[in-house]
C-alpha cells in the first residue's frame, strides 16, 4: 500500500505527518526538537528513511539532525546514541554543526566581503542553514544552502560539511546584499539528467547555475526586472523567492520572484514573465505538478508590505499551460478573514497517481489537495508557524 510522509518544519519544532495513499486520515507525530526553529526537513530520494533536518536558534546556533528510520528517532550525524562521542585518540567527533567558509589560499582567499545594508563591505558570517537538498544518487551526500549565502556539501551523511566556494567566488560576490530577511541561499535544484548541473537562488542576490559540479557559476538573471534595485535589469540584486523544476524537464524552470512569476525554457539563460491574470504576482511559493510539467501552482500574497492573501481569501492559483492563464482554487480553503502567509519552503507535491499538492501557513495549518488542487483539506490545523513542507511518496 502506498502512502505519503509529510515533513513539516515550524517555528517551534518539526512534525512528521503520515497517511496512506487515500490521503484521508492523517497521523501527526512530533514536535521533534521542540522549541527550536526548524528551517527545513527533507528526505533522501535514494533512501526514504534517511531524513535530514536543519535545527537552528538565535541562542545556540546551528544543529544538523539526521534520522535513519523515517523520522522516528533522530541524532546528530556522527553522534548516534550509544556510540562513542570521541575518537580513540580522545578528540571530539562532532563536526556536523560546523559550517566554516572556505578561506584557503586556492579557492577561498578572495571571498572576504559582501555588501551591507549601508553600502559598505561586510564580512561573510554564518548564521543558519535554510535548505537541505539530499543528492539524487547517494544518501550520504547532501547540499546545504546557508545564510550568509553560500553552498555547502557533505559526503559523509552530515558528519562534516565543506563549502563549494566557487559560488561566492562568482565575480559579483561583493555586490550581493541581504534583504530584510537575511541573505540566505534557499533554493537548490539538482538535475537528474546532468549531475554536474545545479541551480541555486539567493535572497537577495539572484539565481545562479553551475555546469561543472560547483566549481564555476553563472548568474542566470537575464530577463528579470526588479524596480527595487538601482538598475532594474542588473546581473545581481534580484530577490528571488523560489524556483521550481519538474524533474523530467530540467531546462524548464518556474520562478516566484519578490514581484513577478516567470519561466525559462533554456535553464535560466532567459526568463520571461508569466504572471498573466494573477490578482497579485507577489508571493513566495511555486511548485510543479508531478505528472503534468506545464501545470504549476502559486499562492499570491497581497504585497511586500502586506504579507497575507488579497481580500483575506486563501487561494492557490493553478496554471495548466505553464503560466499566464491562472485559475483560483478555493474549495476547502478559508475565503474570509484569512491573513496568514505561506513561506518559500512551504509547498510540495507527492507523486501518487492523482498528484497531491501541499502547503503550510504561518497560522500553523498544513493543507493537502489529493486531487491536484481541486479540493483542499487541512491535515493539521494548529501547529506553530510553518516554515517548510516536504512530501515523500512511499512505496
Amino acid at each position: 500500500m502506498s502512502g505519503v510522509r509529510v515533513l513539516v518544519g515550524t517555528h517551534k519544532g518539526a512534525f512528521v505527518i503520515t497517511s496512506d495513499g487515500k490521503r484521508e486520515k492523517w497521523d501527526v507525530s512530533g514536535p521533534f526538537f521542540a522549541g527550536w526553529e526548524i528551517y527545513h526537513v527533507k528526505g533522501s530520494p535514494v533512501d526514504p528513511n534517511r531524513l535530514y533536518a536543519s535545527q537552528t536558534s538565535g541562542w545556540f546556533g546551528q544543529i544538523i539532525q539526521r534520522s535513519d528510520d523515517g523520522g522516528k528517532t533522530w541524532h546528530q550525524p556522527g553522534l548516534k546514541p550509544g556510540e562513542p562521542t570521541t575518537t580513540p585518540e580522545g578528540f571530539p567527533m562532532a563536526e556536523s554543526n560546523k559550517f566554516v567558509y572556505d578561506t584557503s589560499p586556492g579557492t577561498g582567499k578572495p571571498l572576504t566581503t559582501h555588501q551591507w545594508y549601508d553600502g559598505t563591505q561586510h564580512p561573510w558570517e554564518f548564521k543558519r542553514v535554510w535548505h537541505l537538498e539530499p543528492s539524487l544518487s547517494d544518501a550520504d551526500t547532501v547540499y546545504a544552502g546557508v545564510e550568509d549565502a553560500a553552498l555547502f556539501r557533505t559526503t559523509d551523511g552530515g558528519k562534516s560539511w565543506h563549502e563549494l566556494a566557487g559560488l561566492r567566488g562568482h565575480g559579483t560576490g561583493p555586490k550581493w546584499a541581504p534583504g530584510a530577511g537575511g541573505m540566505g541561499l534557499h533554493t537548490i535544484l539538482l538535475d537528474k539528467k546532468n549531475p554536474k548541473r545545479i541551480f541555486v537562488a539567493i535572497s537577495s542576490a539572484g539565481a545562479f547555475r553551475t555546469d561543472d559540479g560547483g566549481t564555476s557559476w553563472k548568474a542566470i538573471t537575464k530577463g528579470l526586472s526588479s524596480q527595487y534595485i538601482p538598475d532594474p535589469n542588473a546581473e545581481v540584486g534580484h530577490c528571488v523567492h523560489r524556483i521550481a523544476m519538474h524533474p523530467d524537464r530540467p531546462d524548464v524552470l518556474f520562478m516566484q520572484k519578490h514581484w513577478d512569476v516567470l519561466r525559462t525554457d533554456n535553464a535560466g539563460d532567459l526568463w520571461k514573465e508569466v504572471s498573466g491574470n494573477l490578482p497579485t504576482d507577489f508571493g513566495f511559493v511555486i511548485d510543479v505538478h508531478a505528472h503534468e510539467p506545464e501545470t504549476i501552482y502559486v499562492v499570491p500574497i497581497k504585497s511586500d508590505s502586506e504579507h497575507y492573501p488579497p481580500d483575506g481569501k486563501l487561494r492557490v492559483y493553478r496554471s495548466k499551460n505553464g503560466g499566464n492563464e491562472w485559475e483560483a482554487l478555493t474549495k476547502g480553503l478559508p475565503q474570509s478573514n484569512c491573513y496568514v502567509n505561506i513561506l518559500r519552503e512551504a509547498m510540495a507535491v507527492d507523486t501518487l497517481d492523482k498528484c497531491g499538492i501541499y502547503f503550510g501557513t504561518t497560522g500553523g495549518q498544513v493543507y493537502c489537495s489529493p486531487d491536484s488542487g481541486d479540493n483542499w483539506i487541512p491535515i493539521v490545523r494548529d501547529l506553530p508557524a510553518v516554515f517548510s513542507v516536504e512530501v515523500q511518496t512511499l512505496a
Partner: protein
C-alpha cells in the same frame, strides 16, 4: 569536580537532565571548563561558543557565585568556589522578553 548548569535546550541536546560534572585538568577558567564540556558532550560544540572564533554566543551569559563573568577573559581563573565544586558555573540563555 567542576559543576556546570546548562539551559534547558542544551541539556536536551546533550541528553542529560541535571548538572554536568567535569574533571578539568589544570587551571579552572571559562576556556578550560568549556573545552572539557565539549570534549564530554561534542554535540554542544558551537552552541555556547562560536565554532571558529571561540567567542561566547551573544545571547548567552556566564554567571557564578552571584556574579556575571560574561565579559571576563576566557583564561581568567574562575572563582575558587567554582574550582572547588562548591558552586556551579552557570550558562544562562537570555530571556526572550515580552
Amino acid at each position: 569536580m567542576i559543576r556546570v548548569a546548562l539551559p534547558y535546550h542544551l541539556r536536551n541536546l546533550a541528553r542529560i537532565n541535571s548538572e554536568v560534572q567535569l574533571d578539568v585538568p589544570g587551571p579552572v577558567t571559562q576556556r578550560s571548563v568549556l573545552n572539557a564540556l565539549e570534549a564530554q558532550f561534542p554535540m554542544l560544540a558551537g552552541t555556547i561558543r562560536d565554532h571558529v572564533t571561540q567567542e561566547r554566543r551573544p545571547f548567552l551569559r556566564f554567571f557564578a557565585c552571584g556574579e556575571d563573568l560574561s565579559l571576563d577573559q576566557p583564561d581568567t581563573p574562575l572563582p575558587e568556589k567554582v574550582a572547588s565544586g562548591e558552586e556551579p558555573f552557570l550558562v544562562i540563555g537570555a530571556i526572550a522578553g515580552g
